[in-house]
């Protein structure tokens, strides 16, 4: 059978050594009536060649030629070196670096990741990552409630234009601890938070600010940050790391910067791949590091005084603290961190800046053209990063289907988030789109609207 190396001879020698006659005998402590019969719903084995043929057929049936769909997962160019290196068995098939001496590769690259992502967000420190952007935000909310010394509140104020699936995941994850997520509604005209209409005198543990927001717009992060700090709330920024190649890092928001910053690391060298595996990054100010969940790597020295890297602050973690841990999380997204650290090293400041700029410029070019189509306008005013809501004369749902028939993923139907936006399409452009791709989008959309 596949992947079991035993010959008949091996099996005999091994059974003899144990002193049993058959493998069956090794299961004699299991009550007979618990023994499983045949697996009836599982097909019989196929070969690798057959598998690849099957998977190629299925993958091919899902291919589309052009996509302007973002909404939390963005198609960027991924340098060839990234996944060639990530796929090295030494990265791919290692496990959690508990034996530090035999895991210096993984440990050092996480330290480098912590450095890069902290610098990109303008924060002091970072952890080794959690599952994805949505769960990172949930962990940030839990962390803020624990860390806020000015407030005992278990209530967090969250901008209503944070990714809707992030908000719903956060409710699932923090709800059982009786933490309440109150939504600060977005302004119907601007799509952003109205900084003049924020609640006052309420006690919140934290304010969650998206940057850019789900509609691609840029919030007044300075005013929001200062407001929250004045109210005794911590500030959680949920950001697109690619945007920070161009835009103000959360560490510089307002007078004293955000306290915790999280986001989806997917744009940093990770394919959109049906939603995962991605990586959720988490950064924070020095003052709150002991409330950080998940794995953290520190630099230290060995017996000979030589530099080395190790898991540190483990007293926060489940395998040590059990019921008193900061989280139940056990893994980090190590392999995706590997991709992100290689991506950031290759792109550098200049490369990230260019990708961010060109994505933004591509969007602006598309928006300029799209408003030329009869009945199409921009739903919210800018400034935008690389995504915007386009208002259509017919329901976005119909347009999405019509465009898909032309082999184009035109964007995200915002009616799925808010019924009042049923005629709005959220359109994303990245540096991967050429002028002719945008031409193609415009002509496809024109055709879809005419039909």
């Amino acid at each position: 059978m596949p992947f079991v190396p035993h010959t008949i001879e091996d099996e005999r020698i091994m059974l003899d050594a144990i002193g049993v006659k058959s493998i069956e005998e090794l299961f004699d402590e299991i009550p007979n009536d618990l023994r499983a019969g045949e697996l009836e719903q599982t097909p019989t084995s196929i070969s690798e060649m057959e598998l690849l043929r099957l998977m190629n057929e299925r993958a091919r049936s899902d291919e589309v030629s052009l996509s302007f769909l973002g909404a939390g997962a963005y198609e960027h160019h991924i340098p060839g070196a990234v996944w060639d290196l990530v796929s090295r068995g030494e990265f791919l098939t290692a496990y959690t670096p508990y034996q530090a001496e035999a895991s210096q590769g993984t440990l050092q690259l996480i330290y480098e990741f912590q450095t890069m992502i902290s610098r990109l967000t303008g924060m002091d420190l970072a952890n080794a990552s959690v599952y994805d952007g949505a769960s990172a935000l949930a962990e940030a909310i839990l962390m803020a409630v624990r860390a806020n010394r000015k407030s005992k509140s278990k209530k967090v104020l969250c901008a209503g234009n944070v990714h809707p699936r992030y908000i719903s995941a956060c409710r699932v994850i923090v709800g059982p601890q009786n933490i309440e997520i109150e939504i600060a509604g977005w302004d119907q005209v601007t799509g952003k938070l109205d900084t003049t209409a924020l609640p006052s005198g309420e006690d919140y543990a934290a304010l969650v600010i998206p940057y850019p927001n789900f509609f691609g717009g840029l919030e007044d992060v300075d005013t929001l940050t200062d407001w929250a700090h004045k109210e005794g709330a911590l500030v959680i920024g949920v950001v697109n790391p690619m945007a920070l190649g161009l835009l103000t890092p959360p560490g510089s928001w307002g007078e004293s910067g955000a306290d915790i910053v999280v986001g989806e690391g997917q744009p940093l060298g990770i394919p959109v791949s049906s939603g995962g595996p991605y990586l959720g990054f988490m950064c924070c100010k020095q003052a709150v590091i002991r409330q950080m969940p998940g794995r953290i790597i520190g630099r230290t020295i060995d017996l000979d005084g030589k530099e080395g890297f190790t898991l540190t602050l483990q007293a926060r973690e489940q395998h040590i603290r059990r019921a008193k841990a900061t989280s139940n999380i056990c893994t980090n997204q190590g392999l995706l961190v590997t991709a992100a650290v290689i991506y950031m090293s290759l792109m550098g400041d200049e490369g990230l800046h260019e990708v961010a700029k060109q994505s933004h410029r591509g969007l602006m070019s598309l928006l300029d053209r799209v408003i030329g189509i009869q009945g199409v306008e921009l739903r919210f005013p800018g400034p935008y990063f690389h995504e915007a809501a386009v208002k259509l004369p017919i329901p976005a749902k119909e347009v999405v289907t019509a465009l898909a028939k032309q082999d184009v993923l035109g964007g995200f139907d915002l009616g799925e988030m808010d019924t009042s936006l049923g005629d709005c399409l959220l359109v994303n452009v990245t540096e991967t789109k050429t002028d002719s791709d945008i031409d193609h989008f415009i002509s496809s959309l024109t055709l879809a609207l005419e039909a």
Binding site: A36, M55, Q104, T115, A128, P176, N328, G348
Partner: protein, 484 residues
């Protein structure tokens, strides 16, 4: 050497982007005022640096890695290749169903196979790791009691040998934890369990085979005790590899479980993740299953796969990730299941158990003490080095560091906490007899060193990129990022 230390101002991987002019339409207040401070290196420097870092790792591809409770088995390369086909990598998570039938077909079938091997009624693939699967499972238990207005149930029972994630999960789900003792033979203390259950019991979380490396023989009685008290049973699938194709958790009486696909279904561990922790539920918890799951209906005579969301599963606990969990890992698990087939799955449990029992016997013959000598090993077993620690001053950690010098990754050390100076050893079914023999021979040599030159063991490792690290310094003088 850090990547930062090989940079030079103005250097970069210029093939990866083109240059363009400044942005003028975004207000300055929104623009970054200075560069972040990423490395400034050439493409070759990056490739060489990370290639060299990779060489400082032990991995399954490189070394025997018998880490107990982690199931470090061979991760088939063909599976990785199949999941890395461009059509899968480029599929957007929000692509319409009509453009996603290939991907959804794989996921639907994976759900069916996982139902089959676990004996559960429904599967949700979305949890992104075992710990998130645990969270989903206990959150469902909570939702069930709330739906029944049985809200005084505030306590989760957990055997004292459980993984740390179990109590941490129970607390995240708003429960108190009550530990149940384990007997000298590795079984749950049934008398203590009976005394502990009551109207406050929300459920019991356990692993079977347990973390003691033995099968919990009283499982049916345990299930009856908990169910009679109105609680539900959670199965931590960390050790599913031991019984794959041999016993179905659903038949043992469990109401809900998670599986670790990165263990049992051979998906790569990636240096600490990603994992994938699908949950399975029986009839009681099916209404609460996390979204989305893949459904199938007939459309014009052919199968059409569709997403079941909140509208279809109104009592669902909800979504746990932005999209569909670690989809790429699910594809790998699917591909692995196809290669194994039903006959291969039966053999996973069989040969994992054969290897562990063989290795346990060889270790015993080599002079090491088994923690449960009267029990059958499952897919893993425990030795205790307490005699060596006491008599020779060489402890479990020392042995673990020394075995690295012999080219083997150390087993899990100091877990479960109950057993002093222990090693939890899991060879998995994909290792050959020669590899196991080689490990045992190395251990014999180390035991000899422990007798005759203990400093060779207590000072180990000597051949790794670094020697033992100063963990106290790491925690006291925090250096988590390179200072600018």
């Amino acid at each position: 050497m850090l990547i930062y230390e090989m940079g030079s101002k103005g250097r970069s991987a210029k093939a990866q982007y083109r240059k363009s002019g400044a942005i003028t339409d975004i207000p300055t207040a929104h623009l970054r005022s200075e560069p972040a401070g990423l490395p400034e290196v050439s493409e070759l420097q990056v490739v060489r640096h990370y290639t060299n870092l990779s060489k400082k790792n032990f991995s399954i591809d490189g070394e025997f890695y018998p880490l107990g409770s982690c199931t470090m088995k061979y991760n088939p390369r063909g599976v990785h290749k199949a999941a890395s086909i461009p059509g899968f990598l480029n599929r957007h998570p929000l692509a319409p169903e009509a453009q996603s039938q290939g991907f959804m077909h794989c996921l639907y079938e994976l759900q069916e196979y996982l139902k089959d091997v676990t004996g559960m009624q429904a599967i949700s693939l979305t949890p992104m790791a075992g710990a998130q699967g645990e969270f989903a499972g206990v959150a469902m238990i909570r939702a069930y009691h709330e739906k029944n207005k049985d809200v005084q149930r505030c306590e989760i029972l957990i055997p004292s040998t459980a993984h740390g994630t179990n109590p941490a999960t129970a607390v995240m789900c708003g429960y108190r934890v009550r530990e149940i003792a384990v007997t000298d033979e590795g079984d749950v203390d049934l008398a203590e369990l009976k005394a502990a259950v009551g109207p406050q019991t929300a459920g019991l979380m356990m692993t079977n085979p347990s973390t003691c490396g033995v099968f919990e023989r009283q499982i049916k009685e345990i299930a009856a005790v908990v169910h009679e008290a109105g609680g539900l049973l959670y199965y931590d699938g960390a050790n599913l590899n031991a019984i794959l194709g041999k016993v179905k958790p659903g038949d043992m009486g469990f109401d809900v479980l998670h599986m670790n696909l990165h263990k049992t279904f051979a998906t790569p561990h990636g240096g600490g993740g990603p994992g994938s922790g699908p949950v399975g539920v029986g009839s009681r918890l099916a209404p609460f299953i996390p979204t989305p799951i893949v459904g199938k209906r007939d459309e014009d005579g052919s199968d059409f796969y569709f997403w079941c969301n909140e509208e279809d599963i109104p009592d669902t606990i909800g979504n746990l990730s932005a999209f569909m969990g670690n989809a790429g890992i699910l594809l790998r698990a699917y591909a692995y299941a196809r290669l194994l087939g039903r006959e291969g799955m039966h053999r996973v449990g069989e040969y994992a158990t054969l290897n562990a029992n063989y290795m346990a016997r060889r270790m015993e013959d080599a002079g090491f003490k088994l923690a449960y000598p009267r029990r059958r090993a499952t897919h893993e077993f425990i030795i205790t080095l307490s005699n060596e620690a006491k008599e020779l001053g060489v402890n479990a950690m020392d042995f673990a560091k020394r075995i690295l010098d012999y080219g083997y990754h150390a087993p899990t050390t100091y877990f479960p906490l109950l057993i002093p100076e222990c090693w939890l050893i899991e060879p998995t079914e994909t290792e050959s007899r020669e590899e196991i023999d080689g490990f045992v021979d190395a251990m014999k040599r180390i035991l000899d060193e422990a007798h005759h030159s203990p400093e060779t063991v207590t000072g180990a490792p000597f051949t790794m990129p670094v020697r033992r690290l100063d963990d106290v310094k790491a925690a006291r003088e925090l250096d988590l990022v390179l200072a600018k």
